[in-house]
């Protein structure tokens, strides 16, 4: 099956800092999503971004499908940004579900 690798695995930053999270995947995808899992376990969909660039407030994401990677940018980090960020992909047909990476554990210190 498809492999999804996220980096870095852990990241500790001070409030106000910017960060870039990376997701590499091993095959063509027709669905790529970024999620934030907060400390209470809730998975929040940040972006549906199989290709191109999107922005939502302090967050933006870019997927370069031809090179099989996606980037999530977080600017002016806040303590509420802490948690685990997952990249998840789907290869086709919609019938095989999303394959998740192992996530990036982000801690924002005040």
């Amino acid at each position: 099956g498809i492999q999804v690798e996220q980096s870095p695995p852990d990241l500790i930053l001070q409030e106000g800092a910017n960060s870039t999270l990376r997701c590499n995947f091993s095959d063509s995808v027709n669905n790529l999503q970024w999620f934030h899992q907060n400390p209470w376990g809730q998975l929040i969909n940040l972006f549906y971004i199989p290709s191109g660039t999107k922005q939502n407030g302090r967050l933006s994401a870019t997927t370069v499908a031809t090179e099989r990677y996606s980037l999530l940018y977080i600017s002016s980090s806040q303590t509420t940004d802490s948690g685990v960020y997952f990249c998840a992909v789907e290869t086709g047909g919609g019938a095989d579900g999303l394959t998740f990476g192992k996530g990036t554990h982000l801690i924002i210190q005040p």
Binding site: Q42, N45, A95, D96, G97, L98
Partner: protein
């Protein structure tokens, strides 16, 4: 409803018991997915429904796991004869289309003792 609702939020089962986990997706969402998340890991796909049809159950770990969505809305994940390795958070997600953003519920944390 406004979001995906799962119940119960927590479930403790004795080894060998049967459990049933409920998912109430967003109204009108065609696609419904079940995932299993072990501690410190990413969610892993279990099964997928399009309306009432179960189109993929390749992720179900054994024949003790069974899922249904008889009327194309609420879904139930049933685990028979629970074992300790079944302890995990079970997440349900729904989406309007197969190729669109997913909305996850808060999950059911199952602990088998």
């Amino acid at each position: 409803g406004a979001g995906v609702s799962q119940s119960p939020r927590y479930k403790v089962a004795k080894r060998g018991q049967d459990v049933a986990l409920r998912c109430d997706p967003i109204s009108g969402h065609v696609s419904l997915f079940w995932y299993q998340q072990a501690l410190g890991q990413g969610p892993e796909f279990l099964t997928y429904f399009q309306n009432e049809a179960q189109l993929d159950k390749s992720g179900l770990p054994s024949d003790r796991f069974f899922a249904e969505r008889p009327e194309g809305s609420v879904s139930t994940l049933k685990i028979q004869r629970t074992q300790q390795e079944d302890s995990a958070v079970y997440l349900c997600a729904s989406s309007l289309l197969t190729s669109s953003g997913y909305t996850f519920g808060s999950g059911t944390r199952l602990t088998v003792v």
